[in-house]
């Protein structure tokens, strides 16, 4: 059985917590829109996959996490990184291939990681993350830290054998793991309505003996609540959960994608469903946060991203001396 959660706020967030969540989502959005613009100038090398539109998922889950907890991300990883606390300037520098980047320019957009923050890395291999999260969850369980592991993965990745094997293993071992299927409707140019041979990804949870829930991915509060419940259960030894988050990605699969497979769903989502707009309306209507406070966050985020880009462009690139370092710890 799959439950669809209502958006009632059961886990109260105070004003500061709301502002923090908003800041995270706004930072992700601003980061991605800026990378989109900079990519078009030709200055950013390689493949870049943007997370704009999906901010509520990373944010709604990661607000519950702390340094005990690990997440695994995807090729579309910038949002997960920011939500898990990776330094935004280091991320930008990484995307520009600079020595000051999170991975010293060796990883790039698809491999940003900060293990000190429990961020196990964006991932170039679709379905690469879920098995790893079984491992972080196993470690947390063995060591009794109370930590959890969260695997973010796409609708496309939900069809990968590695993902399905990980779901089963997590359930068999009753691991403190949360599997967040981010269903943005497409894997590259392929619709999830075609590639997922069930009505919902979450429906598959039953087959693995774990709870499955579907949430509106444009609604921060819905994600927040579903995640709270799953994470709490996991921390208490109740085993894994599969959460399917449904929404739309705003940009192409990667920068440069002509998106001829799409209808005009993005315009509608941006106009009527957007997670930032809905968040703002909701928290100002309830009076928990003033509009001016949100505006101030917007301005701070803009400054941060400006500075991140400026510093990234000015930063040095790695040199020949860096080429063969860090292949091993010792060799």
């Amino acid at each position: 059985m799959t439950d669809t959660l209502s958006t009632a706020v059961s886990h109260e967030l105070d004003g500061n917590a709301l502002l923090d969540a908003y800041r995270t989502m706004r930072t992700i959005r601003a980061f991605e829109e800026r990378v989109h613009a900079e990519f078009a100038t030709g200055e950013i090398p390689g493949f870049v996959h943007l997370y704009a539109g999906e901010e509520a998922s990373a944010t709604g889950v990661c607000v519950h996490l702390d340094d005990r907890d690990a997440i695994a991300s995807t090729h579309r990883g910038h949002g997960h990184c920011i939500a898990k606390g990776v330094d935004v300037k280091a991320m930008m520098a990484e995307i520009y291939g600079r020595r000051t980047g999170s991975c010293h320019g060796k990883g790039g957009s698809m491999h940003i990681a900060d293990l000190s923050k429990g961020m196990l890395g964006a991932n170039g291999i679709v379905g690469g993350g879920p098995p790893l999260i079984c491992g972080t969850a196993l470690a947390a369980k063995q060591k009794g830290t109370g930590g959890v592991g969260v695997a973010f993965f796409g609708d496309g990745a939900s069809n990968q054998g590695t993902t399905l094997e990980a779901l089963n293993l997590a359930s068999v071992w009753q691991l403190p793991a949360i599997f967040v299927a981010e269903n943005n409707g497409y894997a590259e140019a392929t619709s999830s309505t075609w590639s997922v041979a069930a009505d919902n990804i979450a429906d598959r949870a039953a087959g693995f003996g774990m709870p499955g829930v579907i949430v509106d991915g444009f609604d921060f509060f819905a994600v927040h609540e579903a995640a709270a419940e799953a994470i709490q259960r996991a921390r208490e030894g109740g085993g894994p959960t599969l959460i399917e988050v449904k929404f739309t990605r705003y940009f192409g699969h990667f920068e440069g994608d002509q998106q001829t497979y799409r209808a005009d769903e993005v315009a509608n989502a941006r106009e009527h469903l957007d997670c930032l707009k809905r968040f703002r309306t909701r928290v100002t209507e309830t009076g928990q946060v003033e509009a001016a406070q949100l505006d101030a966050v917007d301005a701070q985020v803009t400054d941060l991203i400006d500075a991140a880009v400026e510093e990234a462009k000015a930063a040095p690139k790695p040199t020949a001396a860096d080429l063969e370092t860090d292949v091993y710890i010792e060799y």
């Binding site: 060796k106 075609w194 497979y261 292949v327």
Partner: protein, 337 residues
């Protein structure tokens, strides 16, 4: 008529001509058409870099999109090959072999032998390899040596549009499993390609350039790097013979040995990392079989023993270039006991 077309177009033409000729040829892979189940265009992608574009409409029902389930669809292609089809499956990036390797090396590669010569598995697995697009560590590797290592697989690494078309047609007609490695930085490289269908046999190296001073064996995209180096070297009076094995399995050892017997010097250029790659394999062959002809130690120009770095500053150092090849040639030519 021979026209100038791109590596991408040459591959597309080979696929189209074989699909036209033989109904049992099918094409499958992630977004090989693209747009499955989506509200917009069908054949929206034609493969992530457009190699299969247009086949979906020309050959209805014979271009299959797949979920992201490489183990399942590569395995399915292999199974279908045992049952009368000639599938051309696309493993988008060679790096993704990790998620489906069992089907390739424990299944397809071994059927013929394990089953006492009774099986026939005419499957082609097309895949992109190689660095240069800033695609970083998990999308840039030159992993053909790993496939070359495995008995039962044939491994093709075409170096130009002409080779791409002829080798693809040969791969499809070949009754053994073939791993067909396309360099992702070469899709827009152009060259003269006949309009007619043609094949290039496996295990016959191309001699790209004649020369008496040194033999350069180069794999895939490294052939053009070696050619660039050879031009530079010719200006200083060193004539390099360039050999393109075309297939790393089978390997045309005869052409390599003959050339080294004439030149007495060998440089191998391989984009793969240096341990257990084609450079070491070919060097060992020559050291053993043509030891008496060698007038200098063999030089190997390869990537370093590291993953592929993302930053352009590092990736440019990572990929063997003409200067490094020319330096290696100078080393062997000037070598004195």
């Amino acid at each position: 008529m021979a026209r100038t077309i791109s590596y991408r177009e040459a591959l597309n033409e080979a696929l189209a001509q074989e699909m036209e000729r033989d109904e049992s040829v099918i094409v499958l892979g992630e977004d090989n058409a693209g747009g499955a189940g989506s509200p917009g265009e069908d054949d929206a992608w034609g493969g992530v870099l457009g190699v299969t574009k247009g086949l979906y409409h020309r050959f209805p029902g014979r271009v299959l999109d797949t979920p992201i389930s490489e183990s399942a669809f590569v395995g399915a292609a292999i199974g279908a090959a045992t049952s009368g089809l000639r599938p051309v499956a696309e493993l988008m990036f060679i790096d993704f072999m990790g998620v489906c390797f069992d089907q390739i090396f424990n299944q397809a590669a071994k059927f013929r032998y394990m089953f006492g010569g009774k099986a026939k598995t005419p499957v082609v697995i097309r895949t992109m390899y190689g660095a240069g697009l800033r695609a970083a560590a998990q999308h840039s590797q030159a992993l053909y040596p790993i496939f070359t290592h495995i008995p039962g697989l044939k491994v093709v690494v075409p170096s130009s549009p002409y080779e791409a078309k002829g080798l693809m047609i040969q791969s499809i007609r070949d009754d053994d499993p073939v791993i067909f490695c396309e360099h992702k930085a070469m899709y827009d490289v152009t060259g003269e390609v006949p309009e007619d269908s043609y094949t290039i046999p496996f295990g016959e190296a191309g001699v790209v350039r004649d020369g008496d001073d040194v033999t350069i064996v180069a794999i895939g995209r490294m052939v053009s790097v070696a050619e660039e180096a050879a031009k530079q070297l010719a200006d200083s009076g060193v004539e390099a013979e360039i050999i393109d094995p075309r297939t790393t399995s089978p390997l045309d050892t005869e052409t390599i040995l003959e050339s080294v017997e004439n030149t007495g010097r060998l440089v191998v250029v391989d984009e793969a990392t240096p341990r257990c790659n084609l450079a070491t394999d070919i060097s060992a062959l020559v050291a053993k079989e043509a030891f008496g002809s060698l007038r200098a130690p063999i030089e190997m120009v390869t990537a370093p023993h590291t993953p592929v770095p993302f930053s352009d500053a590092l990736e440019d150092l990572y990929i063997p270039d003409a200067q490094r090849v020319a330096n290696a040639v100078k080393t062997v030519v000037e070598w004195k006991r």
